[in-house]
Symmetry: C2
Subunit: 274 residues, 2 copies
């Protein structure tokens, strides 16, 4: 089953557009717990509430036996829930090929995030895994996003920001590709720009981080981010959920936050004006 189908099935089965970021942080985690045990507890408590899990590679690379923890975490996730490897890679052709193989074949991710700065041939090796998903960074949720992503470019006599040029190119590549497997990363912290991107790209799948701890407003993120059918977007949250408690009940606390977030997103997505 390809990523798009797997995602749709998980969204339907769990009635959810929520993705949980499994980003272990030893300082925020319950003391003395191993990363893979912590993640497994969170997964076991939330697997019926999410459409995907997302693992940011940085938080595993920084650990001594991080790749072992990553492997165990991937193994702990039920087969029907897609896993996004948030790696933001981008390198020249033959190197990108090695990264794509690492992410898809070695780690077994169903989708990844990639950086667009180096252009098409840095993304192509990922897209070539047509049964996998590829989310291109478009408008990110951090303050520094302004530095380059919002720079105006003149296209057909109009000023268009870089992030929109990236979105346009990504949509072109998506139409050409066999798998139609490209989506965009658009942060929840910029609701107006999210609205613009959804308006110009009504059918593209969006990965929307930045709700919760990063301060993105959930209502506008959901109302602006979903497609005409109230779907087509994955809302990702990490710290707000997985570090809801440091006590013994941390997994149950995570479940409570995830449950109310899942329900709120669902409510907002289905009741918005079209």
């Amino acid at each position: 089953m390809n990523f798009n189908e797997k995602l749709k099935n998980a969204m339907k089965m769990n009635q959810s557009l929520l993705c949980i970021g499994l980003d272990p942080d030893l300082e925020l985690m319950r003391e003395g717990m191993s990363v893979s045990k912590f993640n497994k507890a969170i997964i076991d408590a939330t697997a019926d509430l999410v459409c995907a899990y997302k693992l940011n590679l940085a938080f595993y690379e920084v650990l001594d036996k991080g790749m072992e923890s990553l492997k165990r975490t991937v193994r702990a996730i039920p087969k029907h829930i897609p896993i996004i490897g948030d790696c933001k890679r981008g390198d020249i052709g033959n190197t990108a090929k090695a990264y794509a193989k690492a992410m898809f074949s070695l780690h077994g991710f169903d989708a990844v995030t990639v950086s667009p700065y180096m252009g098409f041939d840095s993304i192509e090796p990922f897209i070539d895994y047509w049964e996998k998903g590829v989310f291109v960074l478009c408008r990110t949720s951090n303050p520094g996003a302004e530095d380059f992503q919002s720079l105006p470019f003149i296209l057909d006599g109009k000023e268009v920001p870089l992030f929109e040029i990236v979105a346009l190119k990504a949509e072109q590549w998506n139409k050409k590709g066999k798998g139609h497997n490209i989506g965009l990363v658009v942060g929840a912290t910029h609701p107006e720009e999210l609205k613009l991107i959804r308006h110009h790209h009504p059918k593209m799948l969006l990965l929307i981080p930045g709700i919760g701890a990063q301060g993105g407003d959930l209502t506008s993120a959901v109302r602006n981010g979903v497609d005409a059918w109230g779907r087509g977007a994955i809302f990702s949250s990490s710290r707000q959920i997985i570090y809801a408690s440091k006590r013994r009940d941390f997994a149950q606390a995570a479940r409570q936050v995830a449950l109310s977030l899942r329900d709120e997103i669902k409510h907002l997505a289905t009741t918005r004006k079209k």
Copy 2:
């Protein structure tokens, strides 16, 4: 000793602006050899000819015990030769912090490459290691570089290509930082743009990949890339050197190619018109 000093010393001691990319590829390597043994043989045969070694993370991440091979390779490099971790990372603040820690503290690199797309706060955690080097992707050597890097954006009323805006910002950040530890990655495959960047940024350290296998012309790369003193640039080559032979003499063959490349770069750098 900080990266800048370590690099200068290695350049002087080995009379070299040459960097060798240790990018293991099981298909191109001598059959049956382990990655760390292969790398060690190359290092032992060339450590008196280089100003730095560069390890592209992709080629280790794709291997089963890749992080172990990386660790052994780093250990095999003499302490006075700086090591560049070519990882092209770029992520939001707290994630970038984890990446920086992984690259500098865990792997022990003296410098890294980073991607600028997400802006300052994605690069700052790397710069904060002020004794380490940080090369920001500017104009890369691959065909897809045209897709975004060469597009003209409006800056102060003028049309400026994105890569030049990145270079301008990087120079500003460099002046503000404690370590003056920012350099730029500019591919050898675009000699005119390399010339432009060197002209506008006469003092910035450049990391110049793409000579050799990627087809960049060495003469124009060196003449356009070095600073007014015939220094200030690192010329990186990988496949042309490390895969010079598949036979038992592969390390000696690598030495021969590295030696002539080192000498040619030196000759070009010292005899160019100012």
